[in-house]
Symmetry: C2
Subunit: 380 residues, 2 copies
Amino acid sequence: MTQTQDFGFGTQIRKSPYFDATVRWGATGFSVYNHMYIPRDFGDPVQNFWNLINDAILCDVAVERQVEITGPDAARFAQLLTPRDLSKMAVGQCKYVLITNAQGGILNDPIMLRLAENHFWISLADSDILLWAQGVAVHSGMDVTIREPDVSPLQLQGPKSGQVMRALFGDAIMDLRYYWLRQVELDGIPLIVSRTGWSSELGYELYLQDSSRGDELWEKIMAVGGPIGLKPGHTSSIRRIEGGMLSYHADADINTNPYELGLDRLVNLDTEVDFIGKAALRRIRDEGPARRQVGLVIEGEPLSGPNTTFWPVTLDGRTVGKVTSAIHSPRLGQNIALAMLVVDAAHLGASVQVQTRTGVMAATIVEQPFYDPKKSIAAA
Amino acid sequence: MTQTQDFGFGTQIRKSPYFDATVRWGATGFSVYNHMYIPRDFGDPVQNFWNLINDAILCDVAVERQVEITGPDAARFAQLLTPRDLSKMAVGQCKYVLITNAQGGILNDPIMLRLAENHFWISLADSDILLWAQGVAVHSGMDVTIREPDVSPLQLQGPKSGQVMRALFGDAIMDLRYYWLRQVELDGIPLIVSRTGWSSELGYELYLQDSSRGDELWEKIMAVGGPIGLKPGHTSSIRRIEGGMLSYHADADINTNPYELGLDRLVNLDTEVDFIGKAALRRIRDEGPARRQVGLVIEGEPLSGPNTTFWPVTLDGRTVGKVTSAIHSPRLGQNIALAMLVVDAAHLGASVQVQTRTGVMAATIVEQPFYDPKKSIAAA
């Protein structure tokens, strides 16, 4: 694809309110997510990784479209959509949740935000949960309104993101807790900010509520952040794989259940609360999942980029699963990967073979996450 | 994006079973549709257009994912999903339908295929109708199974496509009627073929039912079709705009209703049959839609490519709508466009102004489709 403002094949894929700004600031490659372009390359993904872990980066994640649920039954409906227990979710709180279908398959792994008693946003990974939620509502008998509001998030991530936030919003913002949100303004631009992200680093998301002001918002943040060390960037596959974070469609899909991912903590079967998939998930829990996600360290030369197909994993010539995400971590000096294996092959420390396009590589099953700053600090 | 087999940023976007074949046969640019790569450039979109209208092209449209509905209530459930009357839809028939939400907004404009009494496929435009349909089913009380089967369509389109089909499947295929389907095999490869497409030309779709055989199928068709004049290609924006065919997200979306598009024939309000959106669509019909899609001929220099943003349309300085799809037709020697205007500005023959990125262009509202072979033949 080209780098010009005429980027694209028509209007079938939307442009973010930050699109022109990201091109101006050096975006050289885009992918598509939720029917919208997302910058995925500013010339050097490894430099982007160092910028993220040493300083801070600003990322256009307007593709995280919001599903807004309002109405008298909004809270009850939000709970219907997820196996996670929301009964203690306060107004102003965010939660990482799974959305499951009647078979317990994962449809999305969004952040849910509670803006008011009966006012929720679901900040989406890449699938049309707007259609899922509207479809569920049709015969639900609940009084809810479900729509996509004019909201376009940015991610501000990295160890210096706190300083940038302080410079933008003053000292008051420093007491914003992990996975909480606040309504703020920046020179009259209406925002929700939350201490969330997709980097395992200190980070914030800024939800712009007026798409006509995207360019202005981007420039204001870069102007304030630049002297602190803020760089334009994009979500880092290296950092999120180091952190064992999921990429929907790659590491999880409609045929994956929470137990296969070890995400038992996001499923609450021990209440009277009803949610879609409860019976199926109870059955899966009782029987035990057939597959299990593991971390792999893959030997050999550094991978030149991410895997672009699912690489088969074999054990003594038998196919036992697939690598879903693989990349070279320059910090760890290792090729690291997430893989989904049959349970009887998913043992810590075991050796397996990975069938890449260019040949077979040996790999070892290891603990996740690959990098945990808390452990590193403790060891230091 | 690159042209190598390592194309892409990871496994988050799927590759079609024909991906390697299309790269081998010259695909130079890809877009994303239904979470999957689709070739959209073989080097020269204008040459692709001439190949389509003079000879025939083979297009990878595996992105047309299928939603399969089976079970005792499948026929009743299929009708629930669309305002089009399906009561006379025979087994073996296809229908172009709209899928609407409770507000009458369009969620997709797929082809529906009836494979058996209670066995339907919905061959999708770009949105997750799998989630919509599963969501609707949750509380519907109907006994249906809804899933995405292993089906990957190809389009074989153009005046010589009939000859290619005859060479592939023998004389028997020649009596396949417009919008009917048939189960066939090609050297043991299981297929459904239908006389449908997205080109307004004679054309067929071939639904591969075993994704492991995509490369083999592509090569067999090209080997047989090549001597007849078949070229590798991609869906043609020029031809589909000439034909006034919709591109979902560009020309229609969740906030567009069928009456705005003049698609009254796809809405049947005069039966006892229940479908989602019926009450809303009755209200819209009775009140009359607020907007109306029109065709535009835009004056000035030939457009160098499609519009990549929605261009505002103004009348005496007042914004009255937007251009949704615009392109230069080399056959007509005109810039042609689809636009959505407020009803009081949507008069045939009226002059309006189009605000492009590079300046204002004068335009005239004209009848659609821009090119109709039947009229041309009659006039000849």
